[in-house]
């Protein structure tokens, strides 16, 4: 009787584990971009901000977007599952007739090492080259603790001027934490 109960509990547990693991397989893709604070140059009027909110807000996966004119900033929150790329955001700003400058963003992805470069690769294939923060010498924001193939969430800053034709976005690390 005792053995039968142990077997039953073990099999039920195994089944539960399998079900949970299987369920995980069918979960939607993880968020890649999670938050973006984007500085925009050239936006002077309320309809400009309205159009920008409409344009970014209409992207599938964007949860909320708020544009403040006096700061020239778009604050974008993305849903847990989204396929929005940073390039999409910059394209929307450029199509609006304005210029995307520096940004602070939070992105989830896998760490890759290519030579001496650390790359954060998002599920959509967008790649960010990680740069150490200016405070790296004090510990946080350095590259020394990074390990390849780890799932991480990186908070960092995109510089104000960059070559938009580059396939890799430079991202100066502010914080790295494990995604698991």
């Amino acid at each position: 009787m005792y053995n039968a109960m142990r077997t039953f509990i073990a099999r039920t547990s195994a089944l539960l584990v399998l079900l949970l693991a299987g369920g995980g397989l069918f979960q939607p893709a993880q968020a890649q971009l999670q938050k973006i604070e984007q500085t925009i140059f050239g936006m002077d009027c309320a309809p400009c901000a309205h159009a920008m909110e409409q344009s970014i807000g209409s992207m599938k996966g964007v949860k909320t977007v708020s544009v403040t004119l006096n700061d020239g900033r778009a604050s974008i929150d993305l849903s847990n599952t989204n396929e929005v790329t940073y390039r999409d955001i910059r394209k929307a700003i450029s199509n609006g007739g304005f210029s995307a400058k520096k940004a602070t963003l939070e992105a989830q992805g896998t760490l890759r090492q290519k030579g001496d470069q650390w790359i954060l690769e998002t599920p959509a294939g967008e790649q960010f080259v990680l740069r150490p923060s200016k405070k790296a010498s004090s510990g946080e924001g350095g590259l020394q603790d990074l390990k390849p193939d780890r799932q991480v969430i990186v908070t960092g800053q995109i510089p104000a001027s960059l070559n938009t034709k580059d396939t890799l976005w430079p991202l100066r690390i502010q914080r790295v934490r494990s995604a698991t």
Binding site: G42, C45, G96, G97
Partner: protein
Amino acid sequence: MTYCLSPVHLKSVCVAAGLLWLSFVPPAMGQGGHGPAFGLATPTLPQGGWNYNSTLMSVGTGERSLMTRQSLWYGLTEHLQLNASVPVTLRSTPSPPTTRGGTMMGGLSSLEVSTYWRFHRQYLGVGKRFESTLLVGGLYPTRDYGRERRSGPGVHLAAVTGYASRSVYAWAGGGYQHYTARDGDRPGDLRYGSLVLGWRPAYFRRGSTPDWRLFVEALGESVGPERRDGSAVTGSGGEKLFVGPTTLGLYGAWGLSAGVLIPMYQDVPRVQEEDLRLMFNFTYWF
């Protein structure tokens, strides 16, 4: 040929239809962007964006001409816009002045299709732009420009450069309008220059308040001699200089602008003299 409606009735029907249109479709932005009512500016519209304007304008002295113009703007790209506008004359005078309702609004009583190319832009900071736009338009007269005198199609060319920011605006530009002759008749060529200075008071720069701004606009016009039966009409044409205040209020996707131009100098035939130009404009961005 017989008409079901007399011209007076037709006009009433057009006005009623226009009002009905306005009641259902939110009206849109005058100069397609920043809001001077009469002068040239550098309109902005996102790629794929639409913008609708409904304008009421009046020119003349004493018995004034009165017309509405419905305009639709489309952003082909963020730097290239298309505009089509349709005039409806509500009241005309025997010799309306040779002008444009607003420099970017179309010739009086002409259908107009225009292209705006923002060929230069510099993003100088948060809310700041320095940019320049070229404007090319085709005009098709819908009625006589004077008593029983109608011209052929026309063209309008203009260029404008300006600065926009959260606090101040400034634009300077100039244009040229020419109609081809029909049976030897056409109005004189119009050359004009405009200067616009704008200011948005600090109170209206807050996100929680409507976005109002004030402008002072100056418009100088030089009209060449009118031609009748292929010959220049002696004493026709002349010069005018106007200055006046205008305002633009924006809230979300809506805009309302209004303005007055007062003549400072006029050297034209007496019938073409003006005492005031008036404009009201509603705007909506889709």
